[in-house]
């Protein structure tokens, strides 16, 4: 999320939630009953609880991402939605009907597999037509639908090829067309872009979003790639150890993480542990061992414990030679930390710095390279002031 780096106004964190609810989500408002309701679902493998009492509602027309580290249970959850695993407890309601024990071939749900699972002995056309034939469609209708799908994913001219005769990107499109051909109520995507190289992955993410918006279908994607989840999804559910840690829009997830674990899992972050000393006019004074007293904006959920963490994203931390000069910034209480630059990583769009504070703690800061000339650059062993506003801080209970 380094692309959002740079000087941000202090209202950003607060405005995050409102901005995202205004994002267009077709059909979302239409139905009060969610399309898919997952109720207290548990899946055990031996003694291991892969999915541990998870509940989640997914609205019709939503692009939802399940994000989490490997082994967090996200794929198991997806496989229960497809019918390849049966939950040990709980219900999965699709349009109000419990489908938890319905066999995969009888569900109006289709899945796009991680390694595509294209049938190697069938042509591109027959791969796409496979599900339509099983549905007992007439030959002419199948031909029409296949042609429509081929056009949708831009595979014209490749219909007679076998999967071995097309590129990875083309295989990905065939898999997508095959899973969309039956017009499922929900399309499940299991790490659909993991096998593509970075450039192709990014362009395909945009195409996937565009496709989902155009078809108005419900997509659930499983991914371990945060940028991918944030790019494509309207809402993200972050999973850990079989539970949902937070379900939120991408911006809220990044700017207002619900827990320390989420804050550290999503993106880069500086974390300072400390105690709340005072709370005046929605400004918390928190004394930390590593960074002295930090003034932070009070979170929406009032802090109940005194032991807290102050989390600040690297791009919110600005470096300067003497300290902040802007009048607008001076009007607020500013946190200043002094230290020495130890590492400079130039990444093109941004430069990432490590600053060793006088307390010995290391602070990460990333600054957008807004000019071609290096007048704003700092070099190693240079002494700098790192500063950030109270609104840049996220206060989390330890």
């Amino acid at each position: 999320m380094t692309g959002q780096a740079g000087i941000m106004t202090e209202d950003v964190a607060k405005a995050a939630a409102e901005a995202d609810s205004a994002k267009p989500e077709p059909q979302a408002a239409a139905a009060d009953i969610p399309l898919l309701r997952i109720e207290a679902v548990v899946k055990k493998f031996g003694g291991f609880r892969a999915v541990d009492g998870l509940s989640l509602d997914i609205r019709a027309g939503e692009f939802f991402a399940l994000l989490g580290p490997s082994g967090c249970g996200k794929t198991t959850l997806l496989r229960m939605l497809a019918g390849f695993e049966t939950p040990d407890e709980g219900r999965i309601l699709l349009d109000g009907k419990d489908i938890a024990r319905i066999l995969p071939h009888q569900r109006p749900v289709n899945m796009m597999f991680q390694n595509y699972a294209l049938f190697p002995h069938l042509t591109v056309r027959d791969n796409i037509a496979f599900g339509l034939k099983r549905a007992g469609m007439s030959r002419s209708k199948i031909d029409d639908r296949v042609a429509e799908m081929v056009a949708l994913v831009k595979l014209e001219g490749l219909e007679k090829r076998k999967p071995d005769q097309i590129s990875g990107g083309q295989k990905q499109r065939v898999a997508l067309a095959r899973s969309l051909a039956r017009r499922p109520r929900v399309l499940l995507l299991d790490e659909p872009l993991a096998a593509l190289d970075k450039k192709l992955r990014e362009s395909t993410q945009l195409e996937l979003m565009e496709l989902q918006r155009r078809l108005g279908m419900t997509f659930i994607i499983v991914t371990h790639d945060q940028e991918e989840a944030m790019t494509v999804a309207g809402r993200i559910g972050v999973m850990d150890s079989g539970r949902l840690e937070q379900v939120a829009a991408p911006r809220e997830l990044y700017e207002a993480p619900a827990s320390r674990w989420i804050a550290e899992f999503v993106g880069e972050i500086n974390m300072f542990e400390g105690q709340v000393e005072s709370n005046e006019a929605h400004r918390l004074s928190i004394s930390t061992r590593a960074a002295g007293t930090i003034v932070a904006a009070e979170p929406r959920q009032p802090v109940t414990k005194t032991n807290v963490c102050v989390a600040i994203r690297p791009e919110k931390i600005k470096l300067s030679r003497r300290g902040p000069v802007s009048d607008a910034v001076n009007a607020h209480a500013i946190n200043r930390l002094e230290g020495v630059v130890t590492d400079v990583s130039y990444l093109g769009g941004v430069t990432s710095y490590k600053v060793k504070l006088d307390s010995g703690a290391v602070l990460r800061s990333s600054m957008a390279n807004t000019t071609r000339l290096d007048i704003d650059a700092y070099s190693a062993s240079q002494r700098v002031v790192a500063w950030f506003t109270p609104d840049d801080c996220v206060v989390l209970e330890q």
Binding site: M111, F119, P120
Partner: protein, 304 residues
């Protein structure tokens, strides 16, 4: 270019080695057999004429060459003993191979779907009988199948039959022996193709609306065809030429070609006719191999 030169010589020698092997242990002996098949039987040492003697000069070799004839092959066509033997061999091979496929496929399929650590055990169970001599195992079957053998004792004890059944010297006993002996050759290539199949393909088939039975016939079976072809050839070809099992377990009323060949060679001491039988058998067996090779090549071209 220079890199290619460094590897050229050893690579070329390595490439020639199998041809050399083929020439020495297949083509040269086959040449002898072919020559004998064109000779006439004689009470002599060796038991056929003419004999090429390189020490006798060019004229003698020319005369010997002129004495070669296709008479033995004409005999094979005219006497229906040989035609019937060939036919019986083919029929026995087709029936046995079909039974082997029907029994072997489910076993291989079951093995491929076992948990990984049990697959090795199952593989051992298939291979272990090979540790005992093939001949001993066939004699063991004779023991089981004979008049007062284990099978009849069990059947009598269970009151399934009232008198001992004749099992030995029947076609049933022969098919039992063949299927028993060749089963591993059917199972192993089938297991190899089934085990490496991506289980996600079956999930995809099921996800796209196939019942388990449809998924098997539309995905698993077509993808296992190379294994089916390998298993069928590995069983069919040696069964056509099988001698020991029909000789020990089947009746004496009709013979497979291997038995006819043995009869000509050892009982009748007619080396030329026996050689002709062997040459025709080889030609018969080359046909399915060529067919298989062509099919496989077409498949590879399809992939390319």
């Amino acid at each position: 270019m220079s890199a290619r030169n460094i590897f050229a010589r050893p690579a070329r020698i390595a490439a020639i080695a199998p041809y050399f092997w083929m020439a020495l242990f297949f083509l040269v002996p086959f040449g002898f057999v072919l020559k004998i098949s064109l000779s006439q039987t004689a009470i002599a040492q060796p038991p056929y004429v003419p004999v090429f003697d390189l020490t006798q000069g060019a004229a003698a070799i020319k005369a010997a060459y002129a004495a070669l004839s296709l008479d033995n092959f004409r005999l094979l066509v005219s006497d229906d003993l040989y035609v019937l033997s060939y036919l019986r061999s083919l029929v026995v091979a087709v029936i046995s191979t079909s039974i082997l496929l029907v029994i072997g496929y489910p076993i291989a399929y079951g093995m491929a779907r076992l948990p990984q650590r049990w697959q090795g055990v199952a593989m051992m169970l298939v291979i272990v009988p090979f540790w005992t001599s093939f001949l001993i195992r066939i004699y063991a079957w004779i023991n089981v199948l004979q008049h007062d053998g284990l099978l009849n004792k069990i059947l009598l004890a269970l009151h399934l039959v009232s008198a001992p059944v004749v099992w030995l010297s029947t076609d049933s006993a022969m098919y039992l022996g063949i299927v028993y002996s060749y089963l591993p050759f059917m199972i192993l290539p089938l297991y190899a193709t089934l085990a490496k199949m991506d289980p996600a393909l079956l999930e995809a088939a099921s996800d796209l609306g196939s019942s388990p039975r449809q998924a098997f016939w539309l995905v698993t079976f077509p993808l296992s065809l190379p294994g089916v072809a390998a298993g069928v050839l590995l069983c069919f070809i040696p069964i056509v030429g099988e001698f020991v099992i029909p000789d020990l377990l089947a009746g004496s009323d009709s013979m497979m070609i291997g038995q006819t060949l043995w009869l000509e060679f050892f009982t009748n001491k007619d080396w030329p006719v026996a050689s002709a039988v062997a040459v025709v058998l080889l030609l018969l067996l080359v046909a399915p191999l060529v067919l298989y090779d062509r099919l496989q090549r077409r498949q590879l071209e399809g992939v390319r």
